[in-house]
C-alpha cells in the first residue's frame, strides 16, 4: 500500500543524501549536483502533497494543484540557479584554477 507517507519518506531520504553531498564534497560541481538532488527531493514531497490533497474538501476551489505549481516554479528557479552557479564555477576556475570549495575562502575572517 503506497501512502502519502511513502512518498514523504522517499523525499526525506533523497533530501538527506543530497544534503550529505552538499556538505561533504569538495568539488563545486559535485556540490551543485547534490543541491539539485535536494531540490528534486523537495519537489517529490510537494507533488505528493498536491496529489494527496488534490480534491480535498472544504477549501472551496475544487481541485488543489498548488504543490505542482510550486514544483514548476522550483524547477524554473533551479534551472536558473544551475546556469548561474555553473557560470560562477567556471569563472572561479579561470581565476584560481581550482574549484575546491575548501580553498575558496576569500571571506575568511
Amino acid at each position: 500500500m503506497v501512502t502519502l507517507n511513502s512518498f514523504l519518506v522517499l523525499g526525506a531520504l533523497v533530501f538527506c543524501i543530497g544534503l550529505f553531498g552538499a556538505l561533504s564534497k569538495r568539488n563545486a560541481v559535485a556540490i551543485l549536483m547534490s543541491i539539485e538532488i535536494m531540490l528534486n527531493a523537495v519537489n517529490i514531497t510537494l507533488v505528493a502533497y498536491a496529489s494527496a490533497f488534490q480534491s480535498f474538501a472544504g477549501a472551496g476551489h475544487g481541485e488543489r494543484l498548488t504543490g505542482q505549481i510550486f514544483a514548476i516554479f522550483i524547477i524554473t528557479v533551479a534551472a536558473a540557479e544551475a546556469a548561474v552557479a555553473l557560470a560562477m564555477i567556471i569563472a572561479i576556475y579561470r581565476r584560481r584554477s581550482t574549484i575546491d570549495v575548501g580553498q575558496i575562502n576569500l571571506m575568511r575572517w
Binding site: L19, A22, L23, S24, I31, V101, G102, I104, N105, L106, M107, R108, W109
Partner: protein, 715 residues
Amino acid sequence: MSPVEFVPVIPLLPLVAMVIIFLVTRPLDIAAQRRAGLRPTGVSGGHNVGGATAGHEQAETHGSGADHDEHDDHGGGHGHGGVTTFWGLAGAVVAVVAMVGAFGLALAIFFQFLGSPALQKSGYTVHLWNWFSFGPLHYVIDFRVDTLTAIMLIVVTGVSMLVHLYSIGYMAGDLGFSRFFMELALFTVSMLILVLGANILVLFIGWELVGLSSYLLIGFWFDAAPPPAGSDLPYPPPAALKAFVTTRVGDFAMLIGILMLFVTTGTFTFTTLNTPATYQHIDQFTVTVAMILIFCGAVGKSAQFPLHVWLPDAMAGPTPVSALIHAATMVAAGVYLVARFFPLYSQVAGPQSLEVVGWIGSFTAIFAAVIALAQNDIKKVLAYSTISQLGYMFVGLAVAPTDATGIFHLFTHAFFKALLFLGSGSVIHAVAGNQDMRKMGGLAKYMPITAVTFLVATLSISGFPLFSGFFSKDAIIGEAFTYGQANGNFWFYGLTLFTAFLTAFYMFRLFFMTFGGRGGAFGGFWGNERQYRGEAHPHESTWTMTVPLILLAFPSALVGFWSINSGFANFLTAGIQTYDNPLFDPLTYVGVAVALLGIGLAWLVYGLEVVPARVFTSNPVGRAAYTVMINKFYVDEFYGWVIQYIALGLSHGAELFDTYIIDGIVNGSATSVQRIGDATRRTETGVLQNYGAAIFGGALIIALAVFIATGAFVH
C-alpha cells in the same frame, strides 16, 4: 555734604589712576621704550631680534640675584640702568596725585569723625550695589566707615601716598615702571576695599585682592634669574607663588569660619554680626570655632606662625612694596580682621578664641624675633621684625578689654616699619642693590637723612621712651600683665617682655651694622667710610625718596602721644576708656629697662664692638642654636617635605589611580570585548560548507529542543 559721604571716592581715585595707566600711559610708555630701543619690538619676532636685544635684557632683568655682577657698575639695575620715559613718569604722577587726593579725603573724614562723637558711635554706611538676594540673605556691596576704618584709611592712604612718591625715585629706569605703579594702585584699591567693607563679603573680596596685588608685586621682577645655589637671596617667582598659596591656606579656614557665621546668623553685615543679641539662639561653641577659624585667615595674612614662611621670601619684591604691603598695611589686615570682630571675640565667643589669638601672637613674636637675631639680609631682619610686631598686635587684641591696644600698635607700627623699609630701600639703592649687612657699615656719613630717619624708626620700634613705639608696645606689655593678674596666665607678659629685649637688640644690631660701627662718631652710632665694608659707592638718595622718609619720621616719633589720656582708645571705641597713660605706670619702666638693655647689648657688640659677636657662636650650644636660627627652625624644609611627599604624593596617587585602576577597568572591558570578538570571529571560516553544516546542525538542535519541549518523544 560732609566728607564722609564721598567715601567711595577714596578707592575710586587709585582705581581711576590704575585704569589711566593701563589704558593710556603704559601703552605709550612701552611704545616710547620701543622707539628708544630699550625694549624689543616683539611683534616682528625672529631670532635676529632676540639676538639684537640680548643687551637690553640685562637692563630689564632686575632681581637681586645672580645677574648683579653685570649691573653693579651702574647701580644694581635699580634706577640707573635705564631711562624713565615721559609717559612712564606721567603715569606715576597721575597715581601720586590720585593718592594725594585720597589721603586728603581720608584726612577730612578722619577729622570729621574726630569732631563728631555721634558719628564715632554710629558710623556711616553707603550702599553701592547688589549682587543678589535670596529672601533674607543679602549679598551686597556696601562700604562702611567707622572709627576703626577711619584710622585704617589714614594709614593706608598715607603710607601708600608716600610709597608712591618714593617709588618714582626708587623704580626710576626700570622697564616695568608703569606696570609697577599700576600694580601699586591696584593694591591700594584692594586694601581700601578691605578696610571699607561693611560686610565680610566685601572684606573677603578686598582680602583676596590684596593677596593678588601682593603676588603680582612680589613677582614684579618675574624674569629674574635664580640666585646662585646656597645663597639665601630671595627669588621672586617662587616667593610670589609661596605668598599666595600660603595665605590661601589661611583663607580657606577663614572661609569656613565665615560660612559658619553666615549659616547660623544669615547675614554678612558687621553691624549685625557684632551685636551679641544676634546670637541668642546660637551655641557658643559654634561661634568660638568660627572665630578661631576666622583668626586662621589672619594667621595667613599677617604671617603668624605656622603660616609665617611666606613673608621673609616676599622680600623678593621691590623694597617700596615691602614697605607698603609687607610691613605697613596688608600684613596688618589680619589684625584689622580680628579687631573688626572684636565684640564677637570678647563678648560672644568663648575665651578660648582670644586665648588662641594670644598664644599664636606671643609665640610668633618671640619665634620671629629669635630668627631675626641671626639674619644678615637687611630686609629679612625687617621681615622677621614685622612678623614679630604683628604677633604683638595679636597679643594686644587678646589681652586687652578693647581692640584699641592692638590697633594702636598697628597704627604706630605702620609708620615706623614703613620708614624702616623705605630707609633700607634707600640704603640698598645706595649700595648698588646689595642687601647683605656684612657688606655695609658706616653709611651714616654718606646718607645722613636716611640714617637719622632710620634711627628715629629704630628707637621707635625698640620702645625707647616717648617715641611712638614706646606708647603702643608698652601698652601691650602692660595689658598682658593686667591680663596675667586677672587670669593667672603670665606667659603672654613674659614672652612679650622678652621679645622687647630681643627686638631692641636685633634692631640696633641692624642699625650699627648698616650705619655705624666701631670708630664712628657718638660711640659708633655715626659711622663713616672707615667702617664701610662694601665695594659700591654709596650716596644719598634723590628727593623723591628722602622726602617720604622725612615725612614718615614725624609720625614715627610723635603719634604715640595721641594715646595720652586714652585719646586713641577713646576715639576708637567711641568713648569707652581703656588703659592708663603708660608714662605714669611704674610697670612701664620694666619694659623700658628691658629695651634699654637690648639697645645697650647691641651697642656693646656691634657699636663699640667691645664684645665680639663670636662670643655667641663659639661655644657648641651657641653654634647649634645659631644654625637652627639661621635656618629659621627648618619650618620651610618641613613644609617642603610635606608638599613634596604628602601633597604631591597623594596627587600622584590620584593620577595613578586614574591611569591604572579606572582606565584599567575601562580599557580592560574594551579589550575583553575585543578578545571575545576576536575569538568568535574565528568561526567565520569562509568555507561555505561549514556554514551549511552550521545551519542544518543548528536546525537539528532547535528541532530536537522543540521535540523535547513539546514532549513529542513521549507520545
